[in-house]
């Protein structure tokens, strides 16, 4: 893959030019499907776009000093990390050179939640600090399961390269890993039943409490991009390998859409859990399956 194709992937597909409208579309699908499931009509199609434009035109409170600069920087870092994660997804075939690397993708996916933690603490609002502390606790809980699932998938297929993973025929263990990733996604995307960090009304808006205007618009965008990256990761791992590139794109988009609908249904059907229940859920119930998956992978590797 030369520089031109790399730039095209980062900027056009599946990078920014595809990812930003897709982020708005997924945010709309989430709100609309939740509204339909609650018997409402829901927001119009362009709603996330209107929200974004409106937020760009709002003023922000004056921020001074290092904390102020940091507060402006966190949403930008989050957006670029999430956009980079989307750009790494191997939807189109590449030709040698740098190929989507699973470890880099995981690091980029993790960066927005790190930024949220830092943003809450640097805003110096008590609600932001509570939200950040919750986000940190949540991260410690779900990431163990999430990483074990990814590692078990990678170890069962003997590679950490995303492109090679997408090409290999899927095994039973891979589907087990995908199920574990799906269980972790509501926590990663802060939707019900794990919407603890930004718990609306309960702790105002959590880490976002002090954000306004264009900075808040960037947070909304990074949230949408996280949706695209996380559902895209599942779509890449679960999707069958096809030779025609356009068919691959169609399958990628359709699978991502299905994951969004599934997560929205879960969000509409559940209420917010308390933080101790959430931690117990991940450490007691889910971790067992993740450990089972990774130990069976190791067992199979020693056998073969």
């Amino acid at each position: 893959m030369n520089l031109t194709t790399a730039l095209a992937r980062l900027l056009i597909f599946p990078g920014l030019l595809f990812a930003v409208p897709a982020a708005w579309f997924f945010l709309w699908v989430e709100r609309k499907s939740v509204a339909l499931m609650q018997g409402r009509i829901g927001p119009p199609f362009m709603q996330p776009f209107y929200d974004f434009i409106k937020l760009l035109g709002k003023s922000t409170p004056p921020r001074t000093g290092v904390a102020g600069t940091l507060m402006k920087a966190w949403p930008l870092i989050a957006v670029s990390a999430a956009a980079g994660a989307v750009g790494l997804l191997p939807v189109l075939p590449s030709f040698g050179g740098f190929e989507g690397d699973l470890i880099l993708l995981l690091a980029l996916l993790e960066l927005p939640s790190m930024c949220i933690i830092a943003a809450g603490f640097s805003s110096r609002s008590i609600f932001g600090e509570i939200g950040s502390a919750r986000e940190a606790v949540l991260g410690v809980s779900y990431n163990v399961v999430f990483l074990l699932a990814i590692v078990s998938i990678a170890a069962s297929q003997h590679t950490f390269r995303l492109e090679a993973l997408a090409l290999l025929p899927p095994s039973f263990l891979r589907y087990l890993g995908i199920a574990a990733i799906l269980i972790c996604l509501p926590a990663k995307l802060h939707i019900n039943p794990f919407s603890l960090p930004n718990a609306e009304q309960e702790i105002y808006s959590g880490p976002m409490t002090e954000y306004a205007g264009p900075e808040l618009a960037m947070w909304e965008l990074s949230h949408g991009l996280e949706w695209v990256a996380a559902t895209g990761l599942v779509a890449t791992l679960a999707g069958p390998h096809v030779t025609a590139w356009w068919l691959g794109v169609v399958i990628f988009v359709a699978l991502s859409f299905a994951v969004v609908i599934l997560l929205s249904a879960v969000a509409a059907a559940t209420a917010r859990l308390a933080i101790d229940t959430t931690v117990r859920f991940y450490w007691q119930c889910t971790l067992i399956f993740a450990v089972l998956a990774i130990s069976s992978v190791l067992f199979m590797r020693f056998r073969s």
Binding site: R31, A35, Q38, G39, R40, I41, G42, P43, P44, M46, Q47, F49, Y50, D51, I53, K54, G57, K58, S59, T60, P61, P62, R124, S125, I126, F127, E200, Q201, E202, I203, Y204, S205, G206, M208, T209, E210, Y211, A212, G213, L216
Partner: protein, 168 residues
């Protein structure tokens, strides 16, 4: 008016985010405001979202006759909402202090303290009336965008200086 300003006007009319504040209300209007977001009335069709933080909001919805205790809170929250902003007074209490008129515990009505854009009278007003008021306030926001370029909007009519530390 150039294209960007027209888009901004349109977006402001289509995406009013609310912050709800109780300044000593009996809770009747608060219930009606929540009812306007429920499936029967579904204000989200207009892009309405109830936000947790006043920093995110465009429209400040205030209920209640403004008690002495609530005056400073009302002014602080009004200062925390970032411009351009509009204020909707929900119910008869913030408009006229209603049946509590001449009470020694009150410092109302609301427009003695902050500028109010839309009054929604009623005790309590119906949810459809509240939605109509919010839509009118969103129209006012769009008009403000049309008259002034976005960069010229000033941040602060903050009445009470904010401190960064929160006292518990």
């Amino acid at each position: 008016m150039n294209l960007w300003n027209r888009l901004m006007c349109y977006s402001r009319r289509r995406s009013p985010w609310l912050f709800h504040m109780n300044s000593g209300s009996c809770n009747g209007c608060d219930i009606e405001l929540i009812a306007s977001l429920t499936p029967r009335y579904d204000a989200e069709q207009l892009g309405v979202r109830l936000e947790g933080s006043p920093r995110h909001a465009d429209i400040l919805c205030i209920t209640g006759p403004v008690t002495h205790n609530a005056v400073n809170a009302v002014k602080t929250v009004y200062g925390q909402v970032c411009g351009p902003k509009a204020v909707v007074a929900i119910g008869s209490c913030p408009a006229t202090t209603n049946v509590f008129i001449d009470s020694r515990t009150l410092d109302g009505p609301l427009n003695r303290h902050i500028p109010v854009d839309v009054f929604v009278p009623g005790c309590p007003p119906r949810p459809d009336a509240i939605i109509q008021g919010i839509a009118a306030a969103a129209g006012i926001l769009a008009e403000r965008a049309a008259k002034k370029p976005v960069a010229e909007q000033t941040t602060e009519p903050a009445v009470v200086p904010e401190t960064s530390e929160v006292k518990l």
